[in-house]
């Protein structure tokens, strides 16, 4: 059973949560009676300006949850509310447009997140056009400002993705997400593919953006150390279920669920020695 603990969000008050997912379930039917329960009665809440981390290993359902929340994935049961407004499981284009003003997503893959045949500014400009109606010089001007915000020089506006490093491409993706001036950004393993020095810079930047703009994050990751750096609250997922939730301090320093403890024991850190577990019988993939 999930263990509930009261948590306090810095700055959370009577405001409506930017994301509220209640009892969301999703089952993938693979045919021949083989069903995968990707999400089982999952509830998460993100208050304005806060960062909720969803941590889990592959197959935990964390990415399915993120995709369901932004509208890339259907869900079977439950309710998802963005800024207090319920969203349906399948959207029309107008609804997507309305929602993406409120919520944006940054994907993991810094290679695939930008069109490799177009200058990177196009990615930002098309968002500006849809949401703010900016075109031409105005859009270019605003893109430049956004590039400044994410710490990329304006000289990179006309670069192709192949001319940028992985970290720089991820900065462009974040600039694209910011372009719509959303209340919350879903980051799906957004720093996982980056080198640690670059990762540190991006995390710093995300932290800064949160303070400056009050944007909230739903931060999907497998890396508990990153959770410590960036998040206020964390939910731990395993096989589609939330096994533990609470503030980062509570969960990482005083884990209650054995799986959370296992995750913590498995994470490399100074002085760490990897140990074999006794039971190595495996769940078949």
């Amino acid at each position: 059973m999930p263990q509930h603990r009261p948590t306090t969000h810095p700055g959370s008050g009577p405001e409506t949560p930017v994301i509220e997912a209640l009892h969301v379930s999703r089952t993938f039917r693979l045919g021949r009676g083989r069903d995968v329960r990707a999400l089982v009665d999952v509830s998460v809440t993100v208050a304005p300006g806060t960062c909720l981390a969803v941590v889990g290993e592959s197959g935990s359902g964390k990415t399915t949850l993120a995709r369901a929340i932004v509208g890339l994935e259907r869900f079977d049961e439950g309710e998802i509310m963005l800024a207090g407004e319920p969203v349906r499981s399948r959207q029309r284009r107008t609804e997507l447009r309305r929602r993406s003003r409120h919520i944006q997503m940054v994907f993991q893959d810094p290679n695939g997140s930008l069109n490799r045949r177009l200058p990177v500014r196009v990615a930002v400009e098309e968002v500006l056009e849809v949401h703010l109606g900016l075109r031409g010089d105005a859009a270019r001007q605003r893109s430049g400002e956004l590039f400044d915000t994410v710490g990329l020089g304006r000289e990179h506006l006309d670069a192709l993705p192949s001319q940028l490093s992985g970290g720089q491409r991820q900065r462009v993706a974040i600039a694209r997400a910011l372009a719509a001036e959303p209340a919350v950004i879903v980051l799906d393993e957004a720093v996982s593919a980056l080198d640690v020095t670059v990762q540190a810079q991006i995390l710093d930047m995300l932290d800064r953006l949160r303070q400056e703009r009050g944007v909230a994050y739903l931060f999907i990751t497998h890396d508990l150390s990153v959770v410590r750096q960036i998040a206020d609250d964390v939910v731990v997922m395993r096989r589609g279920e939330i096994v533990e939730r609470g503030s980062v301090g509570d969960v990482l320093d005083r884990p209650q669920h054995p799986y959370t403890r296992l995750l913590l024991d498995s994470a490399p850190r100074p002085g760490w020695v990897p140990r074999r577990r006794l039971n190595t019988k495996e769940d078949t993939a």
Partner: protein, 294 residues
């Protein structure tokens, strides 16, 4: 990954000379020969009226089956027409026909592929099944049926072959588009509520274009062969027009009388041009891009 981090960046504004140098290196020595040959054939087709020494369609029976001479470089055919001039003019109909086929096929095939991959669901299923049905007809058979309906001549053959080729192009481009469609750079604008046509044209088209191009290059060779075959069978270009496939056919009877020139030269032109296009396509992107396995 390693290379992209450390190698000098590719500069989109690199000088023409540099780009040309890179192209030449990409083609390799044989590729350069193939490209030069194609340019030669293209020039012949474009400048046919200037290059040809005689009227390709008029001859005199008195001068039939002459050997090569200063007057007739390749000799004459059984109607006494100048073979050199007929080869030069023949380049025109052979190339125009093949080019038209490839153009129609690329536009139609890519369009269907993009619609199928973007809409998915029943639209994709419908398009894919219809293409599968087309696939099951041999190209030439399909062409013969259409010719039977619309009559003989170059253009019915072109349309017939273009239709017959669409499944090859569409199938490959669909699979490429499917892969791209799932990429975050396509997902992201989709999430913004940007319209399908805009995303397809802005994001998908440039990313499938290289495959379309290499596919077209290889298909060009197949188109020439199939067109020549139709002309050979008497369904395509009609006498007295000059066409390489037709010349192979008319030269066939002369062969029996020991006059090899017409069939051999026209056949050689077809083989060399097709081989040149095939090799070029291979260097540019490979056979896979055309969806051919044979």
């Amino acid at each position: 990954m390693l290379q992209t981090e450390l190698l000098p960046l590719r500069d989109p504004n690199a000088g023409i000379r540099q780009r040309f140098g890179r192209l030449l290196r990409g083609l390799g020595p044989l590729g350069c020969v193939a490209a030069s040959f194609i340019v030669l054939v293209l020039l012949a087709a474009i400048l046919a009226p200037l290059i040809a020494t005689h009227d390709p369609e008029v001859g005199s029976v008195a001068r039939r089956f002459q050997g090569p001479s200063a007057e007739h470089w390749f000799g004459t055919d059984q109607a006494g027409r100048d073979l050199f001039s007929r080869i030069v003019w023949g380049a025109r109909s052979s190339l125009i026909g093949a080019a038209a086929i490839v153009l129609i096929t690329s536009v139609l095939g890519t369009g269907l592929a993009l619609i199928a991959s973007w809409r998915g669901g029943w639209v994709d299923a419908l398009i894919s099944r219809v293409l599968d049905v087309l696939f099951s007809f041999p190209n030439l058979l399909l062409a013969i049926i259409l010719v039977a309906v619309f009559g003989k001549g170059l253009w019915p053959c072109v349309i017939a072959l273009a239709v017959a080729y669409v499944p090859y192009t569409a199938r490959v481009i669909r699979s490429v588009a499917m892969r791209e469609r799932g990429m975050p750079y396509v997902r992201s604008p989709q999430l913004q509520g940007i319209g399908g046509p805009t995303i397809v044209i802005r994001h998908l088209v440039p990313n499938v274009a290289p495959q379309v191009l290499t596919g077209a290059t290889i298909n060009f060779g197949y188109a020439m062969i199939d067109l020549a075959a139709l002309s050979f069978l008497g369904l395509g270009v009609q006498q007295p027009a000059a066409d390489w496939g037709l010349m192979v056919a008319t030269g066939k009877e002369a062969l029996l009388q020991g006059h090899l020139a017409e069939s051999f030269i026209a056949g050689g032109c077809i083989v060399l041009t097709v081989a040149a296009f095939g090799y070029l396509g291979e260097r540019l992107g490979g056979r896979k891009a055309a969806g051919r396995t044979r």
